[in-house]
């Protein structure tokens, strides 16, 4: 069917039964073709997209994990140092250096590890994957 034919059909506003049948057949045909084409194109597109996304996300993850560990250690050591140098001597009048620093440094290292493991778990369950969006809360229950 040429575009000119379609144009004249529309202009007349009258469709003969044969044309109606023909139109139905064509619309069913195009529906079938769309159904056949859609999952394929969707699949290939998402596969390609997720691959490109994956490499970007991997870099993002690497950058994220490195600071998680350091953040925990710095905060732990900082709290310990503050307790030793300020809170314990001035408020409680006890000389604890370097006891608190050591204890909280270790706790901070554990917290840093916890951060890394936790964000690693989140990455594994893939919060960025929309199809797996549901299981994430369940998984968190077990982990946290």
């Amino acid at each position: 069917m040429s575009p000119a034919d379609e144009g004249s059909d529309r202009n007349e506003g009258q469709i003969s039964p044969e044309e109606r049948a023909e139109f139905k057949r064509r619309s069913a045909e195009i529906g079938r073709r769309l159904d056949a084409a859609r999952p394929e194109s969707g699949k290939s597109k998402s596969a390609k997209g997720s691959q490109g996304k994956a490499s970007n996300e991997l870099l993002g993850r690497a950058l994220r994990l490195s600071t998680e560990l350091i953040g925990g250690i710095v905060v732990g050591a900082g709290i310990g140092w503050w307790l030793d140098t300020y809170l314990m001597p001035t408020v409680f009048g006890v000389k604890t250096w370097p006891l608190m620093f050591i204890v909280f440094f270790l706790l901070g290292s554990a917290a840093g590890m916890l951060n890394v493991v936790r964000s690693g778990m989140k990455m594994k369950t893939g919060p960025s994957d929309p199809t797996k969006g549901k299981p994430v809360p369940d998984d968190e229950d077990g982990v946290i």
Binding site: G60, L63, T67, V75, L107, G133
Partner: protein, 256 residues
């Protein structure tokens, strides 16, 4: 050789310059190059979003589809990480994402003597991170009351381990704003310093007689680094938005 002249120090680009001295009752509120860059970024963001969505056509124009893509990207990030209840925080996450993104990218445009990367200063990134974490804490307290603090109590663990695990959880929570701000600031700072140093090698080698034949090497590296830095600029804005979402999800969903 490189020490002479100006603009060769790799950290000179981070210097804050006063452009317009403003003094409000003894508080120094001068407009600096940092502030000016932020104003430019705000103007760009507002202008772009205003004009690109002004037409509101069903079949989007190129500009409109760019802003629609950014909108959908951030909306999906929020939905995936916080859930649909988290969409009330969409304006916050979108503002943070686009603000950090535009500031990162503006810092990549070389203008001699002017270029400045706002996000390479920890004062800026720490303010953003503190704002995020305050919203998490206040919204969590508002929504769950004191039950919000249950996020510090691990579940499924013997009672005897609580004295050990609760401090660890608290330290882990406190370290969030720090790692959030340090990550963005350190990435931008280190990237720009590396760029400047490698670019500086080109000039040094060119002026070193026979060694000038080696000058194309750092040039190629600088080009590659520039591409990497653009990637990092976008990625860090994305990471900032994702982590904001993850932290907000604690406030929305409470303890597990």
């Amino acid at each position: 050789m490189a020490a002479d002249g100006h603009g060769h120090s790799p950290i000179e680009q981070f210097e804050i310059k006063e452009l317009l001295p403003i003094d409000i009752f003894g508080i120094d509120a001068s407009l600096t190059n940092s502030g000016a860059y932020m104003l430019v970024a705000l103007g760009l963001i507002f202008g772009f979003l205003y004009f690109s969505t002004g037409g509101r056509s069903l079949v989007p124009t190129r500009l409109q589809s760019i802003s629609e893509l950014i909108y959908e990207f951030v909306a999906n990030t929020v939905r995936e990480n916080v859930g649909s209840q988290g969409m009330q925080f969409f304006p916050l996450v979108f503002s943070l994402f686009i603000f950090v993104l535009v500031l990162n990218l503006l810092g990549m445009i070389p203008i001699p003597g002017v270029t400045f990367t706002v996000t390479s200063h920890i004062a800026i990134t720490a303010s953003l991170a503190l704002m995020v974490i305050s919203i998490v804490v206040f919204y969590g307290l508002y929504k769950h009351g004191l039950g919000f603090f249950k996020i510090f109590v691990p579940s499924g663990v013997p009672l005897a381990l609580y004295p050990l695990l609760i401090p660890i959880e608290i330290i882990s929570f406190i370290s969030r704003p720090i790692s959030l701000s340090v990550r963005l600031f350190a990435n931008m700072l280190a990237g720009h310093i590396a760029l400047k140093i490698f670019a500086g090698f080109i000039g040094v080698l060119l002026g070193a007689g026979v060694w000038a034949v080696l000058a194309p090497l750092p040039l190629a590296l600088t080009v590659a680094l520039t591409a990497l830095e653009v990637l990092v600029a976008v990625l860090q804005a994305y990471v900032f938005a994702v982590l904001t979402c993850i932290y907000l999800s604690d406030a929305v969903h409470g303890s597990h």
